[in-house]
Every structure is written in structure tokens, then in C-alpha cells.
Symmetry: C2
Subunit: 248 residues, 2 copies
């Protein structure tokens, strides 16, 4: 146990406040920091807890995967009322795809938090998704289902889970909006700039104007995502005017 | 919507109080009975809710499956500290095996609650497990994660999830106890009798005595399960005397 404490103490000194980083990433104060320490410890360090059990992120990854599955299932159950069991299963597997989880972990910069005996360059691409799952598992252990769900809502569902996109009915809200503007002879402008604010992670903001009037704002971890988000918001503003059918 | 209400009203008249049955099975008062009505409606009736979406147990089955996965994962995470991700995954799949879920649904007599346009005899064996999953989904929708976890603890984890058995270290606590009694020249007696009490489901009770002294009691939905449960309790009473190793 001493070994674990020392490692994270020295990390605090070297890399800044671990507690503060976790708080920024999760959006709430951690209660039991040890859960997060476990979530960011790689097996290469060979650490054990006081019971002599392995102390690394792999078990939390299992737990986080299960919690993600449950929270996403509950969300899709509510949002896709017409889909049967097979359809919901298919949609969930799109949301929690390995590729998607890797993107989530990469966006949050989780690899920066890892403690390992091997260099970061040696990790495969799946490390990002694995750490993301482990983080969800740590949140569940630390604060329970409600907080895990809240985190998944904020970091997975709100920015990424778009029923129309999952169903392939809309590929890109930005294209949809641009097509509509061109057809309707309206001018449009995506004013996009870096705006990381208090965030640990790089962020971008967008102000979207149509015919010189600002219609939507958005903020995300890449220019592309921020513009897509703003276009989606504008789409909902103009919902009656922009009809999906006309582009299908 | 009218159609749904009528069907369940007529069930109430015919089969007794649906609310009461759900309360007995779950152990708490349902808040939104419609969730449970959905969980026990078969697609053969072709019912729809007021939004025109299918109203049958299949979607709740998807939700319940996800909640079972999450709750069992959390339990194994806590109980099997030495197991890595792959090991935990393997153990979970034993607990939520199709065969096991069918047993759970059958024990609770869930098929008696179903409303379908086809005769009960025509359902395959998996209907029991499907209804069990749908019931878990209904509990989550009605009362949230906490109640779903409580139900899973009472109906799945407490009576069935035995780490030593899952790991194949103990096949049967009853055999273990009998072997020990024979070796130690002790007499034993399983006094087993039907004892359904207030339960909707048939139950059995066991009083287990060793050398004429009662050492454990148990109650379950079959003689075999009740005796196994009592033997397990006795095993923990005699833990220092009965050593697993001596039988391996």
C-alpha cells in the first residue's frame, strides 16, 4: 500500500494535482481518490493492494464497460421507442464501439494520467478506450450509479449519441445545413476559434450565423465536432424549414 | 392505450390482483404498474402504446439484460478481488447464462403472468429467462437502479451467486458437509418440508441438525436448493473445521 501512495504522491508533485485533474475531467469532487489511482495504474508496475490483489485499471475497465452498457441501454430505451430489442442492441454497439471509446479517452487526454513501467509510446491505440472504461468504473466505485450515469450523459450521450446519426438518417448536420442555406440562398458563417477556458483539454468554440444573424453556439474538443454541434442546434431551430426528407 | 388497460383489467378480475402479484415477486410496491404490464405482454397480441410503438416485453428484456450485467459486474468486482478482467467476464457469463435465467424465471412462475395471443405451451424454454430480464427492466424503469440492484441481490446474487461454486472449488455444499460428517463420525439430518408461507411461489424450508443440534435453517424454491443453502450456512459455521483443501 505504501508503494501505491508514494507513486501517486510523486505524481502529484511532478504532474500537478491529481485530485484537481480528476475533478476537472469528471466535473465533481472525488471522494475516494484510490479508485482513480487504480483506474490510471498500468499492470506493468506490478502493484498490489493490501490484500495482495492486482492494483491496476483492468478490473475497473470490466466494471466501467458494464456501467456504460447499462446507462446507454437505458438512454436508448427511452429515446428510441420504436426500436425492438435487436435494433437497440445494434445501436448500443455503435455507441460503445472500440473506436468510439478510444476517441472519448483521447479527447479527455487520459493517457497523460497513466502510471506505467513502459513508455507511453508503447501502448496500443486501445489504451484510450480502456482508460475511459476504467474511469467510468472508478466513478461508479467512488460515487455510485447516479454519478456514473451523469458522467456518461455529459461525456458520451450529450456530445455523441445522436439517434438520427446512429440510424444513418443524418450523416452530417453541417452538410445538411449548408445544403439548405444554398438551396434557400442564405449566407452562412461558422466563426470557430480555440477556447479552452478552464478546461484541462483543448476546446473549440463556434458561433454560427445565418444571413448575418447568430443562430447557434457550441463548444467541443475539436473544430469539426464543435461545428457539427452548432449545425445540429441550428437544425433544431429551423426544424420546420429544414426537412430531412428533402435530402433523402 | 384503452386496449392495454382492458386487457390488464380483465386479468385482474380473472387471475387476482396483478399489483399484488408484482409486489410479492419484487418485494416492494410498484409505482408505475404499466412498466410491469409491458414486461408481461407478448408481441403476439400486437399491442402498441399511445405513441404507436410496440408494447411488449422485448425492449424491457434488452434493458433488464444490461442492468443484470451491470449489477453482477459490480458484485463480482467487490467479491473476487484477485480475478482479472477476463476472469470476471467468464464468471459473469456463468451467472447470467441463458439456462440460469430460465431457472430464475421458472422459479418465480413468471409465465403465469404473461398475456399472449398464443397458448403458453407454444413458448420455447427461453421464455422464462426473457420474462425475468424484462421484469428487471421494468423494475429499473419503475423505481431506478437502486431497486433493480436490490431485486437482483435478493433473487439472483444471494441464492445463486456463490464464488466458490462458480470457480468450481465446491460443487455441492451438501456433499461437502456429508463427507465431513462421515469422516468425523457425526450424525446429520436434513428436515425438509413445504413452507410456502405468504409467497406466491412454492417454497421449501430445511432445518439441518448435526449430532442432534440444529446448526442451520434455509428456505428456497426447491428441496434441493433449500438443502444446499442450509448446508452452505452450516459450512460457514464450521468453517475452521471443514477445510476445502482436504476434499480437493
Amino acid at each position: 500500500m505504501g508503494a501505491i501512495r508514494n507513486i501517486f504522491t510523486s505524481r502529484s508533485e511532478k504532474d500537478g494535482n491529481f485530485f484537481g485533474l480528476i475533478q476537472k475531467i469528471t466535473g465533481f469532487k472525488p471522494k475516494n481518490l484510490k479508485c482513480y489511482e487504480e483506474a490510471f495504474t498500468h499492470r506493468s508496475l506490478g502493484l498490489q493492494n493490501k490484500k495482495g490483489h492486482p492494483f491496476n485499471y483492468e478490473r475497473l475497465e470490466f466494471l466501467g464497460d458494464a456501467m456504460l452498457g447499462a446507462v446507454i441501454a437505458a438512454h436508448l430505451f427511452d429515446e428510441v421507442g420504436r426500436g425492438d430489442e435487436g435494433y437497440l442492441t445494434k445501436m448500443r454497439s455503435k455507441v460503445v464501439s472500440r473506436e468510439h471509446l478510444n476517441e472519448l479517452g483521447r479527447d479527455l487526454g487520459l493517457l497523460n494520467l497513466i502510471r506505467a513501467a513502459i513508455p507511453k509510446e508503447n501502448f496500443g491505440v486501445n489504451i484510450h478506450g480502456n482508460l475511459f472504461e476504467a474511469l467510468v468504473g472508478a466513478i461508479y466505485k467512488d460515487r455510485g450509479y447516479k454519478y456514473a450515469r451523469k458522467f456518461i450523459n455529459t461525456r458520451v450521450i450529450d456530445p455523441y449519441v445522436d439517434i438520427e446519426k446512429l440510424e444513418g438518417r443524418v450523416i452530417s448536420y453541417k452538410s445538411l445545413l449548408i445544403e439548405w442555406c444554398q438551396k434557400e440562398k442564405k449566407s452562412f458563417n461558422f466563426n470557430t476559434y480555440e477556447d479552452s477556458g478552464q478546461d484541462v483539454i483543448r476546446h473549440f468554440s463556434v458561433k454560427l450565423s445565418i444571413d448575418g444573424k447568430q443562430v447557434a453556439k457550441a463548444r467541443a474538443t475539436s473544430k469539426k465536432k464543435a461545428e457539427e454541434k452548432a449545425a445540429k442546434r441550428a437544425y433544431y431551430v429551423f426544424q420546420n424549414k429544414i426537412d430531412l426528407q428533402q435530402f433523402n
